[in-house]
């Protein structure tokens, strides 16, 4: 019954799309569409929660839609239920935010119809139970989000972003299509229940795994298939950016987990290696790219790439442990990965909302034109700071807990017998540690340059605090960051059914432990109590504040900045985003980006300004994408002559093609 209600909810979202076309330009269209989306996504989250904690077999429904001999199959098991929560909670937050944010939209008729359709698409992917429905929903989700990416198609490079996104989405779906085709085998079993029972040969399974890494990975944004992501995610309106980065990448992770952990059966020992390698490289490359950005939304988009890497590291470890019959370690690693899925969806949505609020207030995404917003937008600054601390994996917020669990899983891996993993896992651990430290640097920059210091432009100096709906959405997500950070045991226990369904075991129960500590294996081995640490820090900070104010001095005087005696009134003398990243660019950039700095000093008597030029190259784009692009351009140039042939030649071509095809058919038989 739950599933029927859920399908009704999704159908209602779909029905909202044509309604939104009609309401597009009306004054209340915005509130109606987002309000209805909010109600529907909340309903779907509640249904998913009920299903996650409910007992009994997963409900299934078959509808006579799609291909007549397959139909459309739907099913909600605990994995689907978990991802449904992620999708709809993100959707609900984005809808609250958009009720306020959407009022500033110049062309609502270009956004409103696609928004509920996009939400419906993501929901359908997660509950689909056959390959056909899955792929159709997947493609529907991609197209709906593409329409949202090009909503502001006249602005900057948005059209190019949409173009690259469309190509990469098509490429990813193609890989998944091939993967599902291989899984279906000769008998053509497209329903997941049948796929699950048919055990593919090891060669086929390996091929499917690689196709799943490519297909789902290109949507999730793993390096080197990430190139579209930092273009497309920032181009969309901010609440959609939040959904794309916070939620849709998680739907892609769902696709990977569904194939690798569920449909493919028992993993081989080496399966984890490509996943771990891709995860480690993605984590570090993502954050290094993010550090080089000065566009706030693009920085956040690149940072999504990093977090996807962290999730893949957790999933890769889980695959490794599963293959080597270490189910409890596998449960720990899988829980770490999935917990990070949840956490990232929360804080990434929060940060994109913050960036959206700044964009609305100032019309700027470029951090070099912002600054000092903490004075003008104190509430946005506060919630953005919460998001920054959470995403930098700092205690006591939620990002740290999932990384802590991932580290604990890595510490269990010396028991893995295979030599490849013995070398790979420590390297991946080092990459994870590096990415965690660089993430903190990245968000000191993002918050510091945007919100702290002095306003760099007049428009930043006059920014107004954002509206109350947007603030409500951001406060809701900050509260979630805090609760998931302080009481991680609740969330780990909520993930137990997923782990049980995929691995047969789950982590030990956490909620019954003293003081709400989390203990993944044994207390003598490791434990973490965020609540206690938080209370401890708060109490010691308060005692210090109280004692000093009462016993010593509480006097305060405002004066000009000290700055070693040479304060400069021009805000241009502050550190900028680029100058902040300069030491890191110098340490890492020389090899990763071929970074080059050239300084031009005018001769001593000249009054011309000195210039410093920084050159960065995106080596992945240059080596992987640009050659393909230029090859396609070259080939189309060559094939262009086909447009100008005589009718005789066309007929000859048609005839020879026919002969060729017949010949192929004859030899094939």
């Amino acid at each position: 019954m739950l599933l029927v209600y859920a399908l009704c909810g999704v159908a209602a979202l779909l029905a909202l799309a044509p309604l939104a076309v009609a309401l597009g330009r009306s004054t209340h269209g915005n509130s109606i569409v987002y309000g209805a989306s909010l109600v529907l996504t909340l309903m779907l989250s509640v249904l998913a929660l009920l299903e996650l904690f409910g007992q009994g077999p997963p409900p299934t429904v078959t509808l006579p839609l799609g291909l007549p001999w397959i139909g459309a199959h739907f099913r909600i098991d605990s994995l689907s239920a978990f991802f449904l929560i992620v999708v709809n909670m993100g959707g609900a937050a984005a809808s609250i935010f958009a009720i306020g944010y959407g009022r500033h939209e110049h062309a609502p008729e270009r956004v409103l119809p696609f928004y509920p359709a996009y939400l419906a698409g993501m929901n359908l992917v997660v509950i689909a139970n056959d390959a056909f429905t899955f792929l159709v929903s997947w493609e529907f989700m991609s197209l709906a989000s593409w329409a949202l990416v090009v909503a502001h198609h006249r602005v900057g490079e948005n059209l190019r972003a949409g173009y690259v996104y469309l190509l990469m989405a098509g490429f990813g779906t193609l890989a998944l299509l091939l993967g599902f085709g291989l899984l279906a085998g000769a008998s053509g079993e497209y329903v997941f229940d049948a796929v699950r029972t048919s055990h593919p040969s090891s060669g086929v399974a390996a091929l499917v795994l690689v196709l799943a890494i490519i297909g789902a990975g290109s949507k999730a944004g793993v390096v080197p298939l990430h190139a579209w992501l930092p273009l497309a995610h920032p181009a969309a309106p901010s609440h959609v950016s939040a959904l794309m980065s916070g939620v849709m990448t998680k739907v892609a992770v769902y696709g990977f987990v569904r194939i690798a952990f569920d449909l493919l059966g028992e993993p081989a020992w080496w399966w984890s290696m490509p996943v771990l390698a891709v995860g480690g490289i993605t984590a570090v490359m993502g954050v290094l790219y993010a550090l080089m950005q000065h566009d706030l939304k693009r920085l956040l988009a690149y940072h999504t790439v990093e977090n996807i890497g962290i999730i893949y590291i957790g999933l890769g470890l889980a695959l490794a442990f599963k293959a080597h019959a270490m189910p409890f370690a596998a449960a720990l690693a899988l829980t770490a990965g999935l917990f990070h899925v949840f956490n990232h969806s929360v804080f990434k949505s929060l940060l994109f909302f913050g960036a959206g609020a700044v964009l609305n207030a100032t019309g700027e995404r470029d951090m070099e034109h912002l600054g000092g917003l903490i004075h003008r937008m104190p509430q946005t600054a506060f919630v953005f700071l919460v998001g920054c601390v959470a995403i930098s994996a700092l205690p006591p917020l939620n990002g740290f807990v999932s990384e802590w669990l991932t580290f604990q899983a890595i510490l269990l891996s010396p028991q893995l017998p295979s030599w490849g993993l013995k070398f790979l896992v420590p390297a991946v651990g080092a990459l994870l540690a590096l990415s965690a430290a660089l993430a903190a640097a990245c968000f000191v920059k993002a918050f510091g340059v945007t919100f702290l210091g002095r306003a760099r432009t007049a428009i930043a100096a006059k920014a107004q605090e954002t509206d109350s709906n947007s603030l409500a959405a951001m406060y809701f997500l900050s509260a979630l960051c805090f609760v998931a950070g302080i009481l991680p045991g609740l969330f780990i226990d909520a993930l137990a059914p997923v782990s049980n369904a995929l691995l047969g075991v789950s982590m030990p129960r956490q909620t019954g432990l003293d003081w709400l500590t989390i203990v993944p294996i044994a207390e003598s081995r490791s434990s973490y109590n965020a609540l206690l640490v938080f209370v401890f820090v708060t109490i010691s900070g308060s005692i210090a504040a109280f004692a000093i104010h009462r016993l010593a001095s509480d006097k305060l005087r405002r004066g000009p900045a000290w700055d070693c005696g040479y304060p400069d009134p021009s805000p241009a003398t502050q550190y900028t985003a680029s100058s902040f990243a300069q030491p890191i660019r110098r340490v890492y950039g020389a090899s990763v980006f071929r970074a080059r700095e050239t300084g031009e000093m005018p001769p001593p008597t000249s009054t011309a300004p000195a210039r410093l030029t920084v050159e960065l190259r995106d080596l992945i784009w240059d080596t992987a994408y640009a050659p393909i692009g230029s090859f396609v351009a070259y080939a189309t140039e060559r094939l262009n002559i086909l447009q100008f042939l005589t009718i005789r030649r066309y007929l000859t071509l048609v005839f020879s093609a026919l002969v060729l095809l017949l010949l192929v058919l004859a030899t094939w038989q």
Partner: protein, 318 residues
């Protein structure tokens, strides 16, 4: 009764590290001065400095936000809690299991995150310079620290500091290559994290050479006192951490008597004295390096940590 005793011991540890840390800094300064054949400031000078700063009024820049005023308390509280979780004179304290070594590193990371934000808050060039260099140094020091943690956790089979210390003292360890590499890397990280020579000079105010001092340039009065106390606590924390992991002898066990605990305190103070003398000798015998040589120094620490971890993964006997 047992709970009260445990609370008391935990409180004693907190007060001990808080009271000892300025003394330790004063001690290192004194030894350094004597090594240079100077008289040096009195041992108790850091306490006097703190008391004077606390009594003075705060002069806050006009462009400063509320964050700048809150950060000293966050940094101080975070560092203080971290320092009180490292076993010093007795292991298995009441709250020692609330944060393991990873959480401890991350807690210090939180403190540094906020301190780097403080450098950017007023919007001056020196603050930004300090912050940007600090995060560059941290981006190498923190992974190195985590790799050291990996090595030690794999040897001891735990990330809990109390369990680790107990395992190290049990004699099952013996001399190991990975342990030696980890110790070397940990010392290098500790020097970098505490802004000591050759990474940074705690005594300088020369603009172009400073990192930590540049970040906190806009602080004055009680705020500066808290920041200074936090860095003194951090120095003490790292020395205690090295002592607890590599010289765990003399730390009283979970069910120690009063006599054993007093012996533990005495041994701890002795270890600190040795650590302080070694630090002072090291600092006087070496020159400060350029900022862009620091990545090489810390990169070496990171590689040592990675090598030690790899050795542990490859074979249990290294």
């Amino acid at each position: 009764m047992a709970v009260i005793r445990d609370f008391g011991l935990q409180g004693m540890q907190m007060m001990l590290v808080l009271l000892l840390s300025p003394l330790f800094t004063g001690f290192v300064r004194k030894v350094k001065a004597r090594l240079l054949r100077r008289q040096g400031p009195p041992l108790l000078q850091p306490y006097r400095d703190l008391a004077r700063l606390m009594r003075k009024e705060v002069v806050l820049a006009e462009s400063a936000s509320w964050l700048l005023r809150v950060i000293p308390y966050i940094v101080f509280a975070g560092t203080w809690v971290a320092a009180s979780l490292v076993p010093t004179f007795r292991s298995g304290l009441l709250f020692s299991w609330s944060a393991d070594l990873i959480a401890l590193i991350a807690l210090l990371g939180s403190a540094r995150f906020f301190l780097a934000l403080a450098g950017l808050d007023v919007g001056t060039s020196f603050g930004g310079l300090g912050s940007s260099r600090e995060v560059m140094i941290a981006s190498l020091a923190e992974p190195a620290m985590l790799m050291i943690m990996f090595t030690l956790a794999l040897i001891a089979g735990s990330t809990q500091l109390s369990t680790m210390a107990a395992y190290m003292v049990s004699g099952e360890v013996g001399l190991r290559v990975s342990l030696g590499l980890a110790l070397l890397a940990l010392i290098m990280v500790a020097i970098a994290e505490n802004a000591r020579i050759p990474i940074d000079n705690p005594a300088t105010h020369l603009e172009l050479t400073m990192v930590h001092e540049a970040m906190v340039l806009e602080y004055s009065g009680r705020h500066l006192a808290l920041i200074d106390l936090a860095s003194e606590l951090k120095l003490l924390l790292y020395v205690s951490l090295i002592a607890c992991l590599f010289l765990p002898w003399g730390i009283a066990g979970p069910d120690a008597t009063v006599g054993e605990i007093s012996a533990g305190v005495a041994v701890y103070v002795g270890k600190l004295a040795i650590g302080g003398i070694l630090l002072a000798v090291f600092e006087t015998s070496i020159a400060k390096m350029r900022v862009f040589r620091v990545p090489e120094f810390l990169g070496a620490a990171l590689m040592l940590g990675l090598l030690a971890t790899l050795l542990r993964f490859v074979s249990g006997s290294f």
